[in-house]
Symmetry: C2
Subunit: 204 residues, 2 copies
């Protein structure tokens, strides 16, 4: 099975749907998932650590890396730039490790175009009212920012059919279980195993 | 979500791969899976209970039900007839319940033709040597019967690419977890949810 190529797992969600927590928890649960820390030009929020939550970079450093072809995807969200380092993905897949990325809908579309076999998962809050409440509990955002995120969430939710899986985050524990189930199930898909098990017919 | 139609889950495996145990354990684990007890003309093995393990019927009773269109699939295996009652499947799907069937490769092909959206799962033992050992441990089979089952297993294993998922049953606990993961993941597939969540865009 060492010849198996890894699978790229892309998780998107409107802000406040809980995808950062779910991605962290599913990595702890499965233990063998690679992860890519995104690059961003937005300033750190209280408690965020450079190199762990994001690579926080200047706009000029971001654009330099982008021009050099260093990003597998990049996007502008709420006026800030975000990007995923291409080398991190390529290395994990080549080593046969599944890699999970926490990416917005624009980035997910770029990754699907570049990695046809990627698994795209969309996370939503159980309702718009619940989403708004979660954004308010975060407290770090001003009223105008909350309104902007809600408007964007309404737009993004309409894209759910472009994803392979939809997980409704009613309860974090259940949602982590569903996310883990999707990743485990994809590892058993015959379309992925065809390449890894060419010798199955002559097993003895 | 009550409008969601159930999913038909079809599990096949060469004899000795452990599918009967896995199907029973995954039903206990998930709790909400419907199940169809097959009809068969083969005699009960020691410990098997009529109506629980199989509906044991005479050949003439089987053929009468078959002519009446009562089977969603039927097959002849090792000289015995096996069939799945169509009404049991239809009722579960209409009620929005997922239903799991433990069916041979001939039956799986018929079910795929009849239910395009069915999920087909193939279970294999980790090796032919392991498979032979499990058949011998079963003890109820004569030497000639074991040889016949082994020959059939070699043929059947070549059909694995016709299935959606492949689970290698190295360890029962792990295999049950994989089987449960496949069923849980399929419940999150956007292609299945499109019908159940037509109102997602206007949620408020």
């Amino acid at each position: 099975m060492t010849s198996r190529r890894g699978t790229l797992i892309v998780v998107s969600a409107p802000s406040g749907a809980g995808k950062t927590t779910l991605c962290r928890d599913v990595r702890m649960r499965l233990g063998d998932l690679a992860y890519s820390v995104s690059y961003t030009t937005r300033p750190p929020r209280p408690g965020e650590v450079d190199g762990a939550d994001f690579h926080f970079v200047t706009e000029s450093a971001f654009k330099e890396l982008r021009e050099a072809g260093g990003f597998a995807e990049w996007a502008e969200v709420h006026g800030n730039l975000y990007g995923t380092h291409a080398g991190t993905i390529e290395r994990a897949l080549a080593e046969g490790r599944d890699i999970i990325l926490d990416i917005d809908t624009q980035g997910a579309r770029q990754l699907r175009a570049r990695y046809r076999e990627a698994v795209l998962i969309f996370i939503i809050a159980p309702s718009m009212a619940e989403l708004e409440q979660r954004l308010r509990e975060r407290r770090s955002d001003a009223e105008r920012e909350i309104k902007r995120r809600m408007d964007r969430a309404r737009e993004e939710i309409q894209l759910w059919r472009q994803y392979d899986y939809l997980i409704v985050n009613r309860d974090v524990k259940d949602a982590v279980e569903q996310l883990a189930a999707v990743i485990q199930a994809e590892r058993c898909r015959t379309t992925r195993l065809s390449l890894a098990l060419p010798d199955l017919e002559v097993r003895s």
